[in-house]
Symmetry: C2
Amino acid sequence: MQHTKAGEPQILIDLSTAIIGTDAGTLQCRLVDDGDDAQPRRLPFGPFVPDQHRTMEIGLRQWVGEQVGVELGHVEQLYTFADRGRQHTTPGAPHVVSVGYLALTNQTGRQTRAWRDIYSFFPWEDWREGEPSMLADIIYPALDSWLAQHSERRESARLAFGRDGLAWGEEYVLERYELLYEAGLVAEAFADGRENAAPTPAVPGEPLQLDHRRILATAVGRLRAKLKYRPVIFDLMPLTFTLTQLQHTAETVLGVGLHKQNFRRLVEKSGFVEATGKMSKSRGRPAELFRFRHQERSERPLAGLRVSPGRLRPSDPSP
Amino acid sequence: MQHTKAGEPQILIDLSTAIIGTDAGTLQCRLVDDGDDAQPRRLPFGPFVPDQHRTMEIGLRQWVGEQVGVELGHVEQLYTFADRGRQHTTPGAPHVVSVGYLALTNQTGRQTRAWRDIYSFFPWEDWREGEPSMLADIIYPALDSWLAQHSERRESARLAFGRDGLAWGEEYVLERYELLYEAGLVAEAFADGRENAAPTPAVPGEPLQLDHRRILATAVGRLRAKLKYRPVIFDLMPLTFTLTQLQHTAETVLGVGLHKQNFRRLVEKSGFVEATGKMSKSRGRPAELFRFRHQERSERPLAGLRVSPGRLRPSDPSP
DNA sequence: CCATTTATGCTCAAATTGAGTATAATATCA
DNA sequence: TGATATTATACTCAATTTGAGCATAAATGG
C-alpha cells in the first residue's frame, strides 16, 4: 500500500459550479459579482472541506448558497481537472484540483449583471443563425497555421470542428475550447504562461478566471449531449410552458435550429409532457400550455429528447 | 476568495483504475495480487502526487505500470468519489478522495489469478442466459423489505432494476450496486460500519477492498453505455476478429444476448470494420476476418455500435 | 374583412429496426 | 463416403421512426 509521505505538497480541492439557465433565447450562466467595478469573471466556487462536507455535493451547495443563492434543480458532477499549470498556481502554494459541477435552474435572472450569456464566452458555438462567420474568418485560419506545426492534432481538430466533410457535433464544446487553448488562441493560454500564446487573444470570446471557462465548456458539452437521452431540459423550464417555448429552450442549449413540427411530434409522443388545458396568450394563435410529467422521468428513463437538428436551419425569432 | 485555512485535515487523492478486458466469454478485470494467500481484492491504485504527475492520467499510468504492467488502450476518467465513510478511513488520517478511471485492454490474461471475472462481483448483471434467478430469489425479497422502511427510494429501485413493467437497463450498474449498498445488502456496507448491514452479506457477489467495487460498477456501467455511441468495443478486440467474436464481446460486456443477423448488418453498415480477406478456421463454416478501420473512428464519431438487445435471448455458446 | 402571426394537424417517402427464413461452407462421425 | 451438426452469411418483410413539407386553425391589428 503506497500513500503520501509526509512533507509532500498539500492538495486542495475546489468545487466549482456552472449554473445554467435560459432566458429569452439566451443561454445563461450565473457568475459571482465580487462587488468591484470589474465584470464578474468567475463561477461560484470554494474548497471542499471534508470535516464540514459529508459529500462534495453538500460542499458545492454551501458555496453556491453563500455566493449566489440560486436554487438548483438537476446537479451533476462533470470532471476533475488536475493538470499542472491550468490554475495559475503560485509556486509553493498547495496544488489545486478542481472538481467541476453542472447545475440547472429554471430561475430566470436578468435582474443581476452576474447572469451572463454563455455564448459571449463561446461565440463560435451559436449556430442558430447559421455557421458563425468568425469560424471561417478568424478561427480556422489561426487554427490552421498552428496545425501546420502540429500535424498530430489534425484529426482531433477535424473531428472537433467538423471540418472537410464531417458534421458539426454540437456536443464537442470542450474539445473545441481545449484545442483553441492548446493552440494559444484564447486568453487563458496566455494567462497560464503558455509560450505560444499571444497577450491579445486571436479568437473572440470573453475569458474567465482560473480554469472556469474550461469547466463551463465541459458543462455546456455535457448538457448538450445529455439533452438527447435524458429529460434534463425540463429542469430549465418553468412549471408550465408551450411547446414552442420548449423548442426555443432546446435550440438555445444546442445552439442550432430545429424542425418545428417534428419537434412537436417527438415531444408529444415521448409522454414526458401533458396538457394543462390552459392556453398561453401571445401574438398569434394561442398555444396550449403543457407541464412536465414527473412520473415519466422514471418510466421512460432512456428516451429523453432525441432531437436531431437535421440540416441546420435558422431558428425562428424568439417571442 | 476562500481557501483552506492552515490546520485543516489534509486531503489525499487516490487514483484507482478498473482495467477491463474480455477472454473466452468472460468480462475480466485486472486486480493486484499482493502476493499473500488471500484472493486479490483491489484495483491497481496509488496517490496522485502533483510534483511527480503533471496530470492524473500520468499518475495512474505509473501505478498501473508498477502494479500490474498491463498495456492500456482507451483510458477515461469516471468519477470522483469523496463521501465520508466510504473508504474505511481511520480517524485522524487524511481524508481520501478517489478518482476512478476506466481503462480498456485487448490483452487477454488468463495467465494470472489476478484477472478476475467481473460477474463474480456482480452476478446479477449477467443476463446472457436470461434473468439470473438470484434476482427473484434473493435480491428482490431483501430489497423489498428494506424498501418497506424507505419508500422514498422506491422509484429509484424501480428504475435501477427495471421492475414492474420497466425494462432492465443494462447500463445502470452503479445505480443497482449503490442501492444494494444503501440497503446494507453487500459486504462493503458492513465493512464501512453502516448500521443496517449484516456481517454476512445477504446478496451473493464478492466484495473488494475500499470503494473498489463501487468504482468497478461505475466502470462497467460507463462501458456499457458508451458501447452504444462510441466505437470503444474495438479496444477490447485483437487486431483481426470475426463478426461473431465481435458480437460475443459485445454480449459479454452488455451482459445480454443479441440478434446475430442484425448485429452483423449493423456492424457492416457502420463502416467501422473492413474485411482482411483472410478466413478464420473453427468448427463450422469459416468466417471472414475483419479489422477495425482506425480512420473511421473520427469519420463517424457519433455512430458507435448502437446494439439493441431486442427481447432478451440466451446468447449462443462461446466457441 | 384582410393580412399577419403563431400553432397545430396531416401526408409521404426514405431509412431504420426487429424478427425471421433460406442457403452456404466447413468439420465430424457413423 | 455421405449424412449430420455447426457456424456463417444472404435476403425478406412488416412495423416503426425520421426528415421534410403542405395545409389549416385561431388569434391579433389594422
